[in-house]
């Protein structure tokens, strides 16, 4: 390592710590605020109360938004996992013309700004009369989450030894039998990680949902609409629940991948 002067090292450490604080401050602040007894947003909170959680869980519209978000996230993440998983396998193991082109197409929703996807889907769904339908919403969330699934599974499949599959084929197993009995059991941890990421991706999606959801309210959509209007402390409770969900999901992924010895490639 470079042996720089103690001054340089101290300066670097200061900037590093400052940057980590800058990154985490929003998360660190929201959680205690959600237990505040104050009517307005003040930090530190003057006292402890559960009033914002009571308001939240007592509000049928928030409850409905949570149900919608959960159902939408479950359906679209499973669809993204099935479609994206199959495609990732086909791309890694197959050999056909247009392979690269197909992969770029599947990854495109990650690169094309969400606002453009939102507008294109808004116009397209309006044209065929599916704007504001649950089906349209599921389709939108599915294509948005496919790239996440393909990134995680693409890495996993590439690092899985092709010769193991070749043995299965040489013993007369079909492609689909090999995938079910050989590939899937071995990739189970990564499949789980991919599903979790797709689930969070859907549960947090706000832009495309705001454009195409019509009368359906999801948690982020409702949160966004309320934030634009006024600063309402109930949001801190919603935000804390979302942070809790993310921490749990990441912890689950970390534990499962750690056990399988595959932590590194997936997280970054």
């Amino acid at each position: 390592m470079m042996t720089s002067s103690p001054w340089t090292r101290r300066l670097l450490a200061t900037i590093g710590v400052f940057a980590l604080v800058f990154l985490t401050v929003p998360i660190v602040i929201v959680v205690p605020m959600s237990f505040s007894s104050a009517k307005s947003l003040t930090f530190p909170p003057p006292g402890f109360s559960m009033r914002w959680y009571e308001t939240l869980f007592g509000n049928p519209r928030w409850m409905e938004a949570m149900t919608t978000s959960a159902i939408l996230a479950v359906i679209s993440s499973i669809l993204a996992l099935l479609l994206g998983g199959l495609a990732a396998y086909g791309l890694r193991r197959g050999a056909f013309k247009g392979n690269d082109w197909a992969e770029s197409n599947f990854m495109a929703p990650l690169i094309v700004p969400a606002i453009i996807v939102a507008i294109a889907l808004y116009l397209g769904l309006a044209k065929i009369g599916l704007l504001g339908t649950f089906f349209g919403l599921v389709m939108a969330h599915t294509i948005l989450n496919v790239p996440l699934v393909m990134m995680v599974l693409g890495v996993a499949i590439r690092s899985f030894d092709l010769r193991i599959e070749q043995v299965a084929w040489s013993l007369g197993a079909s492609w689909s039998y090999t995938v079910r009995k050989v590939v899937l059991p071995n990739l189970a941890p990564s499949v789980f990680a991919a599903w979790i990421f797709a689930f969070i991706g859907s549960f947090d999606e706000v832009i495309v949902t705001s454009f195409v959801a019509g009368k359906y309210d999801t948690v982020p959509k409702k949160m966004f609409n309320e934030l634009i209007l006024e600063v309402n402390p109930t949001i801190t409770a919603v935000a804390t629940l979302l942070i809790g969900l993310t921490v749990l999901a990441l912890a689950a992924v970390a534990v499962i991948l750690h056990r399988a010895g595959r932590l590194k490639p997936t997280i970054v």
């Binding site: 980590l20 929003p26 050999a95 056909f96 700004p113 507008i119 706000v206 454009f211």
Partner: protein
């Protein structure tokens, strides 16, 4: 497009063509079509004749550029510092960068209202230290939007940059040191040039994401800091001018794809 394994990608291909490619093509069509008359460039002409569009475009470019520079200024030292950490310290630092990456953008943006408000943490600290008498307004102006965007996008720069930095072989620097190079020379002549492709790729990625940013300007800008996305929202949801929105979207899409092409080339260089 036939061959081994095609059956695995066919289902997704159908869904993508119907639910993604077709809507995008339809949007492009709207941007270049006059109903009942055929192809036209009139929607673009209208764009360049209205000063409001050009102002929003300039705004977006400026804010994106500043947020990207801030990201580089904070992100590079952070990634470099993390490279020097070892064991548990490094794991904790990585976790603190990865966690915000996955927490909802809404949550992270929302918290800045509390931190940056007139009675917020930053202002109380500034007044307590006597740096200012009256509260500095961070919210509902460009400053707040820039801070929020830099915060949300920082992990996108730091994670790949850090990954590139830990791939640099320590022996390179040791060799230079044994030949008598000073730490400063080693950093600028050996270490820094090796990180430039990853840094440039990360900066381009952040810049692309800034250009299409919607949530943070809407919340922290309070309608007073219009960026392209917010303009598009108005053109779709409030005063329906779909052709105009399509024309702007097309420009944004082309710019994004061009920058992304440059990003891909740099990223290949960085990971090669």
């Amino acid at each position: 497009m036939r061959g081994k394994g095609f059956g695995f990608i066919a289902p997704l291909l159908v869904v993508m063509v119907v639910a993604f490619d077709a809507p995008i093509v339809y949007m492009l069509g709207l941007a270049f079509w006059h109903k009942g008359q055929g192809p036209t460039l009139e929607h673009y002409q209208a764009l360049f004749e209205a000063p409001v569009y050009l102002r929003v475009l300039g705004n977006t470019m400026r804010i994106s550029l500043i947020a990207t520079i801030a990201n580089v200024a904070i992100g590079y030292p952070l990634a470099h510092w993390m490279r020097g950490l070892s064991g548990r310290g490094r794991t904790i630092a990585i976790a603190l960068v990865v966690l915000p990456f996955w927490v909802s953008i809404l949550v992270r943006t929302y918290a800045w209202i509390v931190v940056l408000g007139n009675g917020g943490l930053v202002n109380r600290f500034l007044q307590w230290t006597g740096l200012t008498d009256a509260p500095v307004s961070f919210l509902y102006n460009e400053l707040g939007v820039t801070i929020g965007m830099a915060n949300v996008l920082l992990p996108f720069l730091v994670l790949p940059l850090f990954a590139a930095m830990i791939r640099i072989d320590d022996r390179l620097m040791q060799a230079a040191a044994s030949l008598g190079a000073s730490p400063r020379t080693i950093f600028w002549k050996i270490y820094f040039p090796l990180t430039v492709p990853a840094l440039a790729a990360g900066a381009l990625l952040v810049f692309i994401l800034c250009l299409g940013f919607y949530v943070t300007p809407a919340i922290l800008g309070g309608g007073r800091v219009p960026m392209i996305s917010n303009l598009l929202d108005t053109l779709i949801n409030q005063i329906p001018r779909w052709e105009q929105a399509s024309a702007i979207s097309t420009i944004l899409l082309v710019v994004t794809l061009l920058i992304f092409g440059a990003y891909r080339r740099l990223d290949r260089k960085a990971t090669a």
